[in-house]
Symmetry: D2
Subunit: 361 residues, 4 copies
Amino acid sequence: MQKRLFPLLTAFFLLAAAVLPVSAQVRHEIGFPDLPDYHTLKCDLHSHSVFSDGNVWPTVRVDEAWRLGLDATALTDHIEYQPHRDDIPTNHDRPFELAAGKAAQMGLLFPRGAEITRDTPPGHFNAIFLDKVEPLAVPDFVEAVRQANLQGAFVFWNHQGWKGEEAGRWLDVHTTLFENKWFHGMEVCNGNSYYPTAHRWCLEKNLTMLGNSDIHQPDINDQTTADAHRTLTLVFAREKSLAGLQEALLAGRTAVWFTNQMIGRREWLEALLEASVEISPPHHRGRDHVLIKVRNHSDIEIQLRRTGPVGPATATLPPRSTSLVKIGTGNPQGPIELAYTVTNFLIAPGEGLPVRLTVGE
Amino acid sequence: MQKRLFPLLTAFFLLAAAVLPVSAQVRHEIGFPDLPDYHTLKCDLHSHSVFSDGNVWPTVRVDEAWRLGLDATALTDHIEYQPHRDDIPTNHDRPFELAAGKAAQMGLLFPRGAEITRDTPPGHFNAIFLDKVEPLAVPDFVEAVRQANLQGAFVFWNHQGWKGEEAGRWLDVHTTLFENKWFHGMEVCNGNSYYPTAHRWCLEKNLTMLGNSDIHQPDINDQTTADAHRTLTLVFAREKSLAGLQEALLAGRTAVWFTNQMIGRREWLEALLEASVEISPPHHRGRDHVLIKVRNHSDIEIQLRRTGPVGPATATLPPRSTSLVKIGTGNPQGPIELAYTVTNFLIAPGEGLPVRLTVGE
Amino acid sequence: MQKRLFPLLTAFFLLAAAVLPVSAQVRHEIGFPDLPDYHTLKCDLHSHSVFSDGNVWPTVRVDEAWRLGLDATALTDHIEYQPHRDDIPTNHDRPFELAAGKAAQMGLLFPRGAEITRDTPPGHFNAIFLDKVEPLAVPDFVEAVRQANLQGAFVFWNHQGWKGEEAGRWLDVHTTLFENKWFHGMEVCNGNSYYPTAHRWCLEKNLTMLGNSDIHQPDINDQTTADAHRTLTLVFAREKSLAGLQEALLAGRTAVWFTNQMIGRREWLEALLEASVEISPPHHRGRDHVLIKVRNHSDIEIQLRRTGPVGPATATLPPRSTSLVKIGTGNPQGPIELAYTVTNFLIAPGEGLPVRLTVGE
Amino acid sequence: MQKRLFPLLTAFFLLAAAVLPVSAQVRHEIGFPDLPDYHTLKCDLHSHSVFSDGNVWPTVRVDEAWRLGLDATALTDHIEYQPHRDDIPTNHDRPFELAAGKAAQMGLLFPRGAEITRDTPPGHFNAIFLDKVEPLAVPDFVEAVRQANLQGAFVFWNHQGWKGEEAGRWLDVHTTLFENKWFHGMEVCNGNSYYPTAHRWCLEKNLTMLGNSDIHQPDINDQTTADAHRTLTLVFAREKSLAGLQEALLAGRTAVWFTNQMIGRREWLEALLEASVEISPPHHRGRDHVLIKVRNHSDIEIQLRRTGPVGPATATLPPRSTSLVKIGTGNPQGPIELAYTVTNFLIAPGEGLPVRLTVGE
C-alpha cells in the first residue's frame, strides 16, 4: 500500500544511494607485511547484524571492514537466536545477500557465514564459506555442523571458555565432530577474551587458531591502530581470493592479533616477525658499544626480553617506528650475537617466541 | 517455529542484555553553559534508523546521544520511504517504542518523531512530540501535517534548499501551513549544509531556527568536539523536561551549532557568548599595554574582528581554553573600551554578532 | 665587538620579540576544582634550564607552565652542577631573572628556586621562595640549607630513593635539618618515580608531600591530560599569590598527582574527591535497581572498589565525563548506602581512600 | 672554583648522560618514498639554538630531527645576532660542535651551518657544509658570502619576502652573488610563509628551491603528520651522505613540503607523485562504471581536479590511505583515460601538476 502512495520517491532515493557514502571510501591499511610466499590477509570472521542480535544493517559491517583495513570479513548471525524477530522475520541468508554486493564493489573477501548457536556446552560454532545458511537450521546440533560440512564450510568453535572452563570443556560431541573433521579451528581469542585452553587444544590437536571481534555494536574506530584494534586473524594465503583464504585456514596458516599480543604457531610468528622488523647494520661504533637502528614496520608493539649476554635487558619497538638501540659489547668491531624472547608473541600459553640474530657481520 | 527449537537460549541472552553495553555508559558533556534563566539543552532532532533508510537499530541513536553529550534526540524515520521494507515491514511507531525505554534509563529527552517525506517541493517536514506516528501516514501532505498538529506536535521544515533554491521555494502550501500555525520552525542547517534562505525566513517570519544531523550511518565519534560535532540545536529551556523542551522550541529560544559557527537570534547569541566567555581583569599593565586573560568555557572556537580603536585586529579564542590577550592602549591605567564583531556568531546571513565591553574598570 | 658591527638588527629583533610567541598564548586549564575554602593551585616546583643540566632557555619553562595549565612553577637549577659551564658561566640567579618578567606577564606564580645538589646521601634538596640563590653556593651542605632558611625558603628533599633505599636513608644530618625545621617537605613522587618511604615519612613526621616533574628536556605536551601529564603538586591555598602558596605548602595542604594516582593526606583527598565528583539522584528506578549519573569533573580517572553490600563490584569514572551506574538493590524506592574504596587515591602506601555515601534520599 | 667543590658529582652525571634520553630514541619515519634512482631525504636546513635567538640547547634540534623522521638537519644560528650574548658569549662554531656527536650517533646528516644575518635588503642567507663558521663573521656582507663559498658551502637566500616585496627585491648585490655562483638556492617557503616571487626566481634563474622551519622554540610535535609538520625540503640524493646531500642540492633536485602543498620543478613532482601513488586495476566493473583503488603511500593529502572527460570532478587522496574511486564510463570493459591536475603540487605559482593516466588496460 505504501508503495502505491509514493512511487516517485523511490526513484529519487535510489539515485542518491548510487553514490558511495563518504565514510566508506577511505581506508587505512593495517601494517602487517606479506610473507615471502604468502599474502597476509587481515580477517574478522565473526560479526553480527540486526538480523540476529547485532545493532547495524549488514552493509555496515562491510563499510567498517573497508575503512579499518580488513581484507576479509564475515557476517555470522545466529541461526537460532533473533531477538529482533518480531520486527525482522527470520531469514538466515538475507544478511549475506544484502551486503555481498557492496563487499564485491570494495574488493573485500566476504564468505557467507552463520553462527550455530546452541547452549554451552557444547557451545557456539561458526561456519563460513557456506553456499546457503538455511539448511543449517535444524534441531540437532551435530546435524547442523554436518550440513555445514556438506557445503564445504570451514567450521570453528567460538569463545570456548566464555561461560567458564566447566561449560567450555571438551565433550564427546566435540570428539565426534573432530574425528569426522567437521570442525577445523577454534577462537583462541574473541573480543576482549583470551582462552588458553583453546590455545593449548589448537596446538595439541592441530586445529586452526582464530581471533575475531564478535562485534554487535557499530564500530566507532576510524582506523585500526595498535591501541584500538579489533581482535583479528591474520591468514597467510597463497592468493588473495576466497579459495586462497579457505585453503590457508584449513592449512592452519594463521596468527591472532589480540590486545598487543600475537598468538600462533612458532613458524608463522617467526615469519611474521622477520617480515616486520628491519635491522640496520651498526651506523656508529663507540669504544665499548655499537648503535643500531631497528625499524618495526608493523602495527604491533614488539616487546623483547634479553636471554643472551649482550644488548639491553628489555626493549620495546613501538608500532610503525624506528628505535635506536645501544648495545654494549666488549668487541664493538666484530659481529654481535643477540638472543631475546619476544614476550608478546605467544607460541604457547605463557611462552614467548625465542629469537637469535647476528648484527654487524 | 524457531521459538520452539531453542527456548533456553532466549533466557540466557536476555540476561546478558540486562547489562548496559560499555560504550554507552560513558558520556562527555558538551561545553555550552546554561544561561542565567535557562538550561542549555543540546539537541539533535532529526535522525534515522533501519526502520526507514538508516543503518542502525533504533537504540543505537540513544546510545550515541548519551555518549556524545546530547540532552535530547529524536528518531524521525520517513513515513513514506522504507527501503528496508522487504525485510522490516512498515511499522511507523516501532522505532520510538524500541528505543524509548533505553532513553528513559539514560535520562535523555526523547520525543516521538517522524519525517513527513513528500517530494520536494513542498519538501520534507519533521514532526516531534507526537503521541502516535501512524495517523500521519495519509496520502495528502497538508492533512499529514494537520494530523501532527492535532497531536500537538512541533513541526519544522527540513533542509529547505537541499535540491536547490527553485525546489526549496516558498509555495502556497507553505503559506497555508504557516497561516494555520501548522509549522513552527525550519532547519537552517542540516548535516553539512547551511541554508541562508531558511535563515532569512526564520528571521522574517519568526520561525524557530533548528540545526540537526539527519544522520543515517552509525556515528563514529567517541565524543563531541569542536572539530567533530554533529550539527545541533541548542535549546534554552526553563526546565529540562519534554514540556520544557517543547515550550522553548515553540518560543524560538534556540541557536544552531554548525561547523564552528553559531547561528541564531541576536539575543540568544549574546546571552550564550556572555555565559561562555570569562574575562579576567588586567593582571599586568605595561607602559603602553595591558594583558588580560580571556577564558572560553564553550566548545566553539570564538572568532573576533576588531571594530573599535584598541585591541588586536583579530583574535581567536579556542574552545575550552584560556587566551592571553595583549591590548595596546594609550592609557594603560584606566578602563579600556573594546568593540568587536564575533564573525562566526551569525545573527543574519553574513552578519556577525557585535559586542562591546569594558575591561579594567 | 659584534655589537658595533650590526647595531640596526637589534632594534628590529626586539620589535619582533614584543609579540608573544603563539604557542605560549593558548592555555588549557587543568581540571581539578577549587575546594570550598581553598584555591587548588597546580604546581610544578622542580625544573631545569640550560643554566644547569636542562636543555631549554629559562623562559621556555614559563611558556610550558602557561600552556599546560599550571598556576605556579619554579626553576630550580643545580647550584653545584653546571655541565654547560664552559658555554654559560655560572650565574645562579640568572635563570630566575630571565624568566620572571614573562611569568608576571602571564600571571603565573614563579618563586625563585634552586637545587642544593650534594652527593646522595644526603641527597638533593630544593629551596624555593628565595630572595637570592647565590648565598646558597657554600661548601657545607647544612650551611647551604641554613642559608636558604635564613631567606625564609620552603625546603624539600627531592627524589629520596632515586639511588636506592640505602642511599636514600635517613641520616643524622636529616635529623639536624628536621629538628631545626630547616626542611619542610619531601618529594613523594619525582617524574616517573614514586617513593613509598618518603610517603611514610611525610605521614609520620608531618612533612609536606610534593610531586614534581624535575624536567630537563622540552615538554612536548600541548596540554595536560590524564594520559599525558607532569607529576604535579596540587596546593590548596587561601589565596592565589606567592604568600598564599607558601603558607599552604608550610601548612602541608597538598596532594600529589602521579600517573593516574592522587597521593596525600586523607582530609585533602576527601575534599578533592568531593569537589570533583557530582552524583545525581536516581533518574530511573526499576524493579530491583536504580540508575544514577556520576560526573567526574576532574582530570583524573577515579577507580572504585566496592566494600559494602550494594553497587557494582568495581567502577571507573573516566576524567571529565559522566558515567551511568546501575545499582542493584532490594529496595529501589528508599535511600541507598554505598561503601567503596578509591583505589587510586592513596592515603598511605598501598591504602586507598574509603568513601561512604547515601544516594536517593 | 665550582669544579673543586663538587668533583664527585660530575662523574655521576656523566654516567647518567650515557643513556640516551627516551624521547630521543623512538622515531617515526616520514612517508615520502624513494624515487627509482634517488633517496628521498627529508631535510630541515634552517634552525636556531640558544647560541643565537633560539630557545633550546643545540642537541635538542638533533633529538627533534631523529624523532620527527628527518634525515638531515642544520643548526644555522645567526652570526650577527646573539640576544643571549650576556649569558652565552659568542662562539659561532660551538652549536655544531655540541650537537655533531649526537647527530653522528643517530645517523643523521648534520652539515655545519650559519645564518649570515644582515639587514633586509639584502636579507638573510644560510650557508651550510661549512668547515668553520668563524671566518664568516666579517663586516662586509658580500665578503661573508664569499668566505662561505671559499669553504665550498651551499648558500641560499632565506625568507625573501618576509619584510614585504619591496624589502625583498632583487638588488645589484644579489646579481653579484648570483653571477659569481655564490648563492645557489632560495627558501620558497619558511615556516608558515610562502614566497611566490622566490618561487618564480628559482624557476627563472635555475636556483634550488628550499623550504625550512626556521624554528626557534622547542618543537612540541611527537611525530610528523600531514596536519602537523615542519616546512621541509625533500632532497633527491644519489646516496645518503653529506656529499650526496650537497650534490643533490647543487643539482636542484628538491621539492618543498609546505602546509599540504608540494612545490618544485615539474620533473621532481611527477616522479614523487608516481612513487607515492599506487593504482590497482579495476576490481569491479558495473554496467556504466568501474571501481578502482588508489593508494596514497605518502604523508601528503593529494588533491585532484579533473581536466578530462571521465572520472569524478574532484578527488582527494588522504595521506597513508586507500581511496575507492568510482569512474563512470561509457565503456567499462576497455582501458580508461584519466586526465587530472594535482592542484596542491605546484610546478609554478598557482599552477598545479597535470597528470594523465590509463587504467584497466
